[in-house]
């Protein structure tokens, strides 16, 4: 690869390759809007108006809190080339722990202590839920994309059962949990309407960045991600690694759910699913699996989503249009990668491991041959360590 490039140039190239897909996705989505008879100008003006102006920027920051934590959770798994796509279920599990267990705990103990207990239970719930995909992956090499997704659908059912069952607020006819009163919610940052979940999220991202890129644990994760076989040869316990990374990832995403309830929503309805993970996943790729780099992308999406909800209604669209934008970002990401590969612009967003993830990780003899598919797909994190 290009060994003589300066740090500034690499940064610029990375920046361009991360921003171009987003811009292209926005442009194409504008055409799609025109095609289905909505006004893109009205939509984007609305996003600006409802996402940033006045006090709306604070709502965007509030939305960033769960999104950033979900991003960190995804990055932990993705770094180890484990594709945890069960995020929707994990998020809802964490949320239901907060909205269901929270009111019960707030009655018997001080709010501060109850909040801590809720967070711990939520993280544990998420971690335990991920055991089945993790063990199936570690033992039999079952594709974790599929198992985590299926477990996610089951989790949605479990959460709905809980909300309609033991956690239901008897005072309301629609199935929902009891509303948590204001004085038991997460406190605001002084002078704003932003709860401290935002600070927690940012701190988590910074800590994760440090752990993943500056500690021996991070190095182990990267070795494991680069090649499970090599990891086993240098004495890393693959089974344990899969379970640990999955539990961390899933626990963090559940944590995001509980923080979102205690900070913002105060209660949970049945069949409610914000699907944050779907939105965050492309952003995580764009940030090349670096937690701190994910923050600006998440901020961008938070503004788009906060403003987009109202703006979509005004422009005669539906909120689900945001899914189209996110899907387009994914598409243009791979196309940009292709062009970048052609022009030798730097590393790929998509590590080689994603190519071989459908194959058996520890047993297959075809792993080595399949990773030699296309050039220029070295993991960014691996190259960070190589002296320039």
């Amino acid at each position: 690869m290009n060994t003589e490039t300066s740090a500034a140039r690499r940064f610029a190239e990375g920046f361009i390759r991360a921003v171009v897909p987003v811009l292209l996705a926005l442009i194409v989505s504008a055409f799609v809007m025109m095609a289905i008879g909505a006004s893109p100008l009205e939509f984007f003006a609305g996003v600006w108006k409802y996402g940033i102006t006045g006090n709306n920027w604070q709502r965007s920051l509030v939305l960033m809190a769960p999104l950033v934590i979900v991003a960190v959770g995804l990055i932990v798994a993705f770094r180890g080339q484990l594709w945890n796509l069960g995020y929707n279920g994990q998020y809802l599990l964490g949320a239901v722990v907060a909205s269901g267990l929270g009111p019960i705990l707030f009655d018997v103990m001080p709010a501060f202590l109850a909040t801590i207990v809720v967070f711990i239970v939520a993280v544990l719930a998420g971690a335990v839920w991920s055991l089945i995909p993790a063990i199936l992956k570690a033992r039999y090499g079952t594709n974790e994309i599929i198992t985590s997704l299926v477990m996610s659908f089951i989790a949605v059912g479990v959460v709905n059962l809980l909300i309609k069952g033991i956690f239901k607020d008897p005072g309301v006819t629609t199935p929902q949990t009891a509303v948590i009163p204001d004085d038991e919610l997460l406190p605001y940052i002084p002078g704003t309407q932003i709860h401290i979940g935002f600070v927690i999220a940012i701190v988590l991202a910074v800590v994760a960045q440090f752990v993943l890129s500056r500690t021996s644990f991070g190095l182990r994760v990267d070795i494991f991600g680069a090649s499970p076989k090599a990891a086993r040869h240098v004495g890393l316990n693959s089974t344990w690694m899969v379970i640990l990374l999955f539990a961390l990832s899933s626990g963090l995403i559940a944590f995001a759910g509980s923080i979102d309830i205690l900070g913002q929503f105060t209660y949970q309805r049945a069949d409610w699913d914000p699907r944050y993970g779907d939105a965050v996943m492309p952003l995580v790729f764009l940030a090349r699996f670096r937690p701190v780099a994910a923050i600006p992308f998440v901020a961008f999406y938070a503004v788009l989503a906060t403003g987009g909800t109202l703006a979509a209604q005004q422009a005669g669209l539906n909120v689900d249009f945001l899914l189209v934008i996110v899907g387009l970002i994914l598409l243009f990401m791979t196309i940009t990668e292709y062009i970048g590969d052609r022009r030798r612009l730097g590393q790929s967003y998509v590590p080689a491991g994603l190519r071989r993830t459908v194959l058996k990780p520890f047993l297959g003899s075809s792993v080595a041959s399949s990773s030699a598919g296309t050039s220029g797909t070295e993991n960014r994190s691996a190259s960070e360590r190589t002296p320039v």
Binding site: W83, L85, T142, V150, V158, L161, N318, L323, V324
Partner: protein, 311 residues
């Protein structure tokens, strides 16, 4: 309880099993062909929705279920074009593109439906039945199996035909070799690109057909996120069936059974919460994965773009 097991009850039960199993079967057969050729399509959830929506609209506009099915197939092929161009031709990552197709399919069909049909939610009514003379007079089996729509029989014949073609014809051999060892297919004078392109388009057609079956016959209407994970179940079934289409068909019936058992229990007198009924197929799938995880085998070249000359 025994008096509930009347002929009429069993008839309805079998019909429900079949109507629930058919969309999944079609999608899983489509996915099987794609996977055998080495293309893992994670986007079939989105492609199914596109097929379901286009079939719904076409049937509403034209009044003919056959036009609807055709539209669904065309929709499925169009939905899979992204996979064809970006993955097969350009060799980009299949999983990322697949997820993108899922998100775009979900988003665009939901937006279009809510924009056009929320004010007057339309139901399609029942598709015309094709009673097979003689056989349809058999009690129980007759009305449930031999009183199905013509679309049902087309789907069965297509699936059986493809099962035969995959196992016994030159086309099937080259398709499977595109997933097993593309370089050998190349060396033997076949074109990996062409084989995979045909497989992806055929797969899109079948998945679109499955979506059409879902909206036209199983539910007789369209609603946003209608598939609700069916596409991912199809992928699981494909992996567990090791690429054998007949096994795919049988496994789909197991899924149909899992879905039909909930309402049936309610008729008998057990009240089962709707959420458990919705979860049941997924629980069965995860149990199947736990029990049969060892035997889920995928073609060696699955997920790897083919580059001529690369090792």
């Amino acid at each position: 309880m025994s008096d509930m097991l009347t002929a009429a009850f069993v008839t309805v039960f079998i019909a429900t099993v079949l109507s629930q199993a058919m969309p999944l079967m079609l999608a899983a057969v489509g996915e099987t062909i794609g996977e055998q050729a080495g293309v893992l399509n994670l986007g079939i959830e989105g492609v199914m929705l596109i097929g379901a929506y286009s079939a719904f609209v076409a049937t509403l506009v034209s009044g003919s279920f056959w036009v609807g099915v055709l539209a669904g197939i065309v929709g499925g092929i169009v939905g899979n074009l992204a996979m064809l161009v970006l993955n097969v031709w350009l060799g980009l990552n299949q999983i990322v593109i697949g997820l993108a197709v899922t998100l775009i399919g979900e988003g665009i069909t939901s937006v279009l439906y809510l924009q056009n049909y929320t004010k007057s939610p339309a139901s399609l009514g029942a598709a015309p039945k094709l009673a097979i003379p003689g056989l349809s007079d058999i009690p129980v089996i007759g009305p449930s199996l031999f009183g199905q729509t013509g679309i049902f029989w087309i789907a069965v014949i297509v699936a059986l035909g493809l099962a035969f073609a995959m196992a016994r014809t030159n086309w099937g051999l080259s398709t499977r070799s595109a997933g097993q060892k593309p370089s050998s297919l190349d060396a033997a004078g076949g074109s990996v690109m062409r084989t995979r392109s045909i497989a992806v388009l055929l797969s899109g057609a079948l998945v679109g057909f499955g979506g059409a079956y879902l909206s036209l016959i199983t539910t007789a209407t369209f609603s946003p996120m209608l598939t609700n994970g069916l596409g991912f179940i199809a992928i699981v079934i494909t992996m567990l069936s090791r690429g054998r289409i007949l096994v795919v068909m049988i496994t789909s019936l197991v899924y149909g059974l899992a879905v039909a058992i909930g309402p049936a229990l309610q008729v008998i007198g057990f009240t089962v919460p709707a959420d458990i009924i919705k979860m049941l197929p997924f629980i069965i799938v995860i149990l199947m994965l736990i029990v049969f995880a060892r035997s889920s085998v995928v073609p060696p070249a699955l997920g790897t773009p083919y580059t001529r000359g690369a090792r």
